[in-house]
Symmetry: C2
Subunit: 222 residues, 2 copies
């Protein structure tokens, strides 16, 4: 297909597609004349992946580029490749870090459990956690880290389902890695949305009108 | 304190503080002379909250403004107020939505369970989920929604701990709402970081080197 049809089928404007081509996020099409290139289904798929990473994952162009090179690299074991992809799509906030939070984050990861082949030193996870704990501390939430036990428990359930999903639908190594990127980015957004619902429900239970009424009734009984 | 000290203690440059003052994210100081204003601890605390929302939560200036007005509004019940704050800090990605995904997202929320006082029609959660499902569909992940059961299970554990944390440390309604904002934004980031660890561990277990060795050993036994 020509670039116009690629634009129509993906919903991405032609100038944006040209920008992605220049930035190396999309491989060049096959030239059919000096001024015209031909694109195929693989371009369409890659373009949709780029959009999902940018729109849903809110990744920067350079993070998208890192994620795509990890997907496209063929000389690593699958587990190592997944680690690289995860790293590429993890953003650490650029907040100032305090030493205590950095130590707390490292201790948390060290205690997390066996993480075979996982390079903590190079990992963005440690920076992400340290940034969260630093921001919490600066706001007077010194004990925020104590909450993380529930996060570990919740995430084990989710990660198990995620990897199961990726393994079930994948037919090739590239598929596994692409599914992992999609699942990670879309899963983060899904998780955040579902957490809002869970908060609304838990808040209704604990501090909603009926909770207030029940508490008033108990008061009345005294 | 003067603006210079506010800047020093918060780590936020003076021009940025002035910008927040102009944008209404920070209440004006008390004028001590025509050219000089005095700021107190409440300004410092609010400034740190604004930075956490922008740096860790990656909220836009206008979302920060919405979140702060929900915190500062005093005429609503706590449960309603929490709902408004949640809405202010929830961003729906601006991806095109397909009808099937919109229906799937609405059905998911309808089946989620009792959500007293929760206005689904007005909720960003439905848009967020629909955007995730639409992006997944466009990438050939039609069954992505089937994974959400594990997300519900995981999020119940986390939301329970979150609300417990907020209730335990709060001494006033304002405290509860501010803690909820902090906990939601920082919790989202913490959750994402912990999910990366859980993925690394699950991936090592299922597809790591030792898993490969175990599988090779089983092959050898045949």
């Amino acid at each position: 297909m020509r670039i116009g049809e690629l634009s129509k089928r993906s919903g991405v404007p032609v100038p944006t597609i040209k920008y992605y081509l220049r930035e190396g996020l999309l491989p060049a099409g096959v030239l059919t004349s000096p001024n015209q290139a031909h694109y195929d289904e693989s371009h369409l798929r890659r373009l949709r992946l780029v959009r999902a990473l940018i729109d849903v994952g809110e990744l920067s162009i350079s993070s998208v580029r890192d994620a795509l090179s990890a997907i496209d690299a063929s000389d690593e074991s699958l587990h190592v490749k997944l680690g690289q992809v995860q790293e590429a799509i993890s953003r650490a906030p650029s907040t100032p870090l305090d030493d205590e939070s950095v130590r707390e984050a490292e201790a948390f990861i060290a205690q997390y459990g066996p993480l075979e082949g996982y390079d903590i030193e190079c990992s963005g996870v440690s920076r992400m956690l340290a940034a969260v704990l630093s921001a919490a501390r600066s706001l007077g939430h010194d004990k925020f880290g104590e909450n993380l036990g529930a996060y570990v428990e919740g995430m084990r359930i989710i990660a198990e389902a995620d990897i199961e999903y990726v393994m079930r639908r994948a037919t090739s190594v590239d598929d596994v890695v692409e599914s992992m990127v999609v699942g990670t980015i879309l899963g983060d957004a899904a998780m955040i949305a579902v957490r809002r619902l869970a908060h609304a429900q838990e808040s209704a239970k604990r501090i909603g009108d009926s909770a207030a009424r029940a508490s008033a009734a108990r008061e009345g009984e005294r």
